[in-house]
Amino acid sequence: MCGIISVINRKKNPMDGRAVREALSIMNERGNGEGAGYAVYGAFPEFADYYAIHVFYDDLIGPKTAVEEELDKLGTITHDEEIPTFEQPNLKKRHIPWRYFFKPNVSALGTTASEEDILVYLMKKVNTTIPGALIYSTGKNIAIFKAAGWPEEVADFYRIQNYEGYIWLAHNRYPTNTAGWWGGAHPFNLLDWSVVHNGEITSYGTNKRYLESFGYVCTMHTDTEVVAYLTDLLQRQHKLPAELAFKALAPPFWDDIDRMPEKERTFNTALRMTYSPAMMNGPFAIVVANSAGIAGITDRIKLRPLVAAEAGDCLYLSSEEAAIRVMEPSPDRIWMPRAGEPVIGRIQ
């Protein structure tokens, strides 16, 4: 059991972190104080053109030098700093969070590569070969704040009220598989994608192998990262629009497809056959964000809750209505999306 809340202002008006902290904390029944995290889009307007690489260091001696050597080989660091943190009574600082604003050099590897390819290469290299360093975010203009603690402790540890953005994504965790590990807290990020997830993906083995066949490497020891990679594969690499990409992850049942009119049936059959190893099984509610918007989706039989609400320019997605009402006491509309049906909020 975990709690998620997300909000987008479709006009891109900035919101600071105070309200989302309150909303996430009201769902403390869904967590256990061993993990919480926030993602905010639009956090670094002065460095908007640079990739904001976030790293957890176990210490500042060995791993930091090794990571910076890699960064120097692959591009230019424009600015870097320790992410400011503020001691909390119950939150032990186990890692030192650092951020780099980075411009990759596409010819660094000597092979055909895009800026994203360089970042994916860097992340894989650091996370699999440099002990004591973990890259946990690589997006432009995106900040991630996560640690092992209750939502309000993590928020205060990073003082998220000092950050503003047009999308917030937050997660309150009850870990079972990687208890207490900061890297295991959500949101997960890959380039422009961030994911928060409540559930357990029973198809993990299948999804992971499928992703590996496209060159992705799963390094976070958790099923949530496959969501980020699958989204990246389907939307960025295969250029599927968001609605179709989510449909591939949680497709309609064959019985329903069989009853569709011919054109729709052919389309859905082709989509499901082609992306069958990308289908996610098991209970899940997920919110995925990129710089253009947010999308929420549940598994095909809705074994995890998801509530949506609209108020003015804002769209809210959450595990609980109560959390939405903390941020917006009287939304224009509030509803329960159907199983497997994506709710998408795009910037205008």
Binding site: T176, N177, G199, E200, T202, S203, Y204, G205, T206, K208, R209, Y210, E212, S213, F214, G215, Q237, H238, L240, P241, L244, F253, W254, D255, T266, F267, T269, A270, L271, M273, T274, Y275, S276, P277, M279, M280, N281, G282, P283, R300, I301, L303
Partner: protein, 505 residues
């Protein structure tokens, strides 16, 4: 040189207190085990094959059967089988023929793989209350979907899908030819397969006209002998399978003794009456992978690219690389047949000693195709020793799309796995063409045994999937995280890419 008789394999006894002299045992045994002598039944145990037909038909349960009634002096090296093979060959000077699958006592990897179930952190799914999907499409899939936006703002599909077989269950029936088995056995299986929405192979014996009503559910086979192949045959099948090899006898061709080639078999195979049908070891137009690729394309041209073409190979040491070569031809599916696969007739030395187990072959093929980024573009069908729904589930979790069953389907028709198929006297009417014996199978009744079996297994797979929190078979395929190895050594575990029992997720 006579070496005297070897001890009989079985000892048959009749409890004369129970026997009512109805003579059903005499009627039912084609091997001549029983003879009426006055007021008793005389038994020639040496003739018995252990097929149980007499026991099944005895109205008084009066017949008992004992295996190996006479012991040899025990010896750890010189087993009974080793000694008897030598006696046989000392007499015949020939290759020893056998029927059914491998009889060596080799470990069953399937039995040392354990399945997973959900507890607390995720709910199991109840198949009685929620849908569980087993539909499986066999054939080529595109790497990705191409779409275009229309001027009205609709999204249109650009990608055209290759023809696929739509199976309502991942269980298909493999290739057993008319000739090797009887028409009534084929009819029962074809109707049974059609009933449950799956497919069955013709084997290399052609397609008899009485099977035409089920042709939509039949896969026609092209083997090295090309028996029964013409354009009409190709066009009738739902799919075409090129048989390169078979798990029970990798590297050699099929052999149908002339005695089994009666008029109907001769017509269907398009060979002379009572002539031996000996398939060459290789296809004489396939001496390399590019030749195979040409044959695949020729068959597709001949059938206007409307039918999927499968290629079946025996699981040999280099199976993964061979399968990858096949996957990169225009073939739609690769069938891999493990070394426990059954057969109507195979040399003992091949059946027992050539090839590798299907579990390792599936894992190796799936891994190789995945590594080359083409796993989802081609289907993998596994066969050879699939005994129950657990084996099917494990085969899929290791990476197969679906399985072929062979022996299991025959067992549903009564086969007792006596292993005497090559003698052409099958008392159950399966591996024989003798009319009085084939009449023992009434396809209008026996098809139900086949459909019941597949239906029962399908229900069990749904339950296993539901317990594992998986409601669609696609999410089980290659999901090796949901398997654990029990008492398997580290090398096997690493080939299977499965963790040991007790290991963390």
């Amino acid at each position: 040189m006579p070496v005297g008789s070897v001890p009989p394999k079985y000892k048959v006894t009749i409890d004369m207190d129970l026997c009512m002299l109805c003579e059903r045992c005499i009627e039912n045994c084609p091997y001549g085990t029983f003879r009426r002598e006055g007021s008793k039944i005389q038994i020639i145990s040496r003739a018995c094959t252990g097929c149980h037909r007499c026991i099944a038909m005895c109205p008084r349960d009066a017949i008992s059967l004992e295996e190996k009634p006479v012991d040899y002096r025990s010896h750890p090296v010189w087993s009974r089988e080793a000694r008897e093979a030598i006696y046989t060959q000392a007499q015949s000077g020939k290759i020893i023929l056998t029927g059914m699958g491998n009889t060596l006592d080799v470990p069953q990897i399937f039995d040392r793989l354990l399945l997973d179930a959900c507890q607390v952190t995720n709910p199991s799914i109840d198949p009685l209350r929620e849908p569980i999907e087993l539909r499986t499409y066999i054939g080529k899939k595109p790497r990705k979907i191409e779409i275009k936006k229309t001027s009205e703002g609709d999204t249109d599909l650009v990608t055209e899908l290759a023809p696929n077989l739509k199976c309502e269950t991942p269980i298909m029936i493999g290739h057993m030819s008319y000739g090797a088995i009887s028409l009534n056995a084929q009819l029962s299986m074809a109707r049974g397969a059609s009933e449950v929405g799956t497919f069955m192979g013709t084997g290399e014996g052609g397609l008899h006209k009485s099977l035409y009503p089920y042709q939509k559910n039949m896969i026609v086979q092209i083997a090295s002998g090309r028996f029964g192949v013409d354009i009409d045959y190709l066009e009738r099948g739902a799919a075409i399978e090129i048989k390169i090899g078979q798990g029970a006898k990798p590297g050699i061709g099929g052999h149908l003794p002339g005695e089994k080639v009666d008029e109907e078999v001769s017509k269907t195979r398009m060979i002379p009456l009572y002539s031996d049908a000996i398939s060459p070891a290789p296809h004489h137009d396939i001496y390399s992978i590019e030749d195979l690729s040409q044959l695949v394309r020729s068959l597709k041209e001949a059938t206007e690219w409307k039918k999927p073409v499968f290629v079946k190979i025996a699981a040999v040491h280099n199976v993964a690389a061979i399968a990858a070569g096949i996957a990169r031809s225009s073939a739609d599916a690769v069938v891999i047949d493990g070394f426990r696969g059954g057969t109507g007739s195979a040399p003992r030395v091949f059946r027992d000693h050539v090839g590798i187990p299907i579990e390792a072959a599936i894992a190796a093929v799936d891994a190789k195709l995945n590594e080359q980024g083409i796993r989802n573009e081609v289907s993998v069908i596994a066969s050879g020793g699939i005994r129950d729904s657990a084996d099917v589930t494990k085969a899929i979790a290791l990476g197969a799309d679906s399985v072929y069953i062979g022996t299991a389907a025959l067992v549903s028709l009564g086969c007792r796995v006596c292993g005497s198929c090559y003698r052409g006297l099958c008392p159950w009417g399966i591996a024989t063409q003798r009319e009085d014996l084939t009449a023992r199978i009434d396809p209008d009744i026996m098809y139900k045994n086949v459909s019941n079996l597949i239906h029962g297994w399908t229900l069990e797979i749904s339950e296993l999937m539901g317990a594992a929190g998986i409601n669609s078979i696609e999410s089980l395929r290659g999901n090796r995280d949901r398997l654990r190895g029990y008492m398997l050594d580290e090398n096997i575990l690493s080939v299977l890419d499965v963790k040991t029992v007790g290991a963390d997720a």
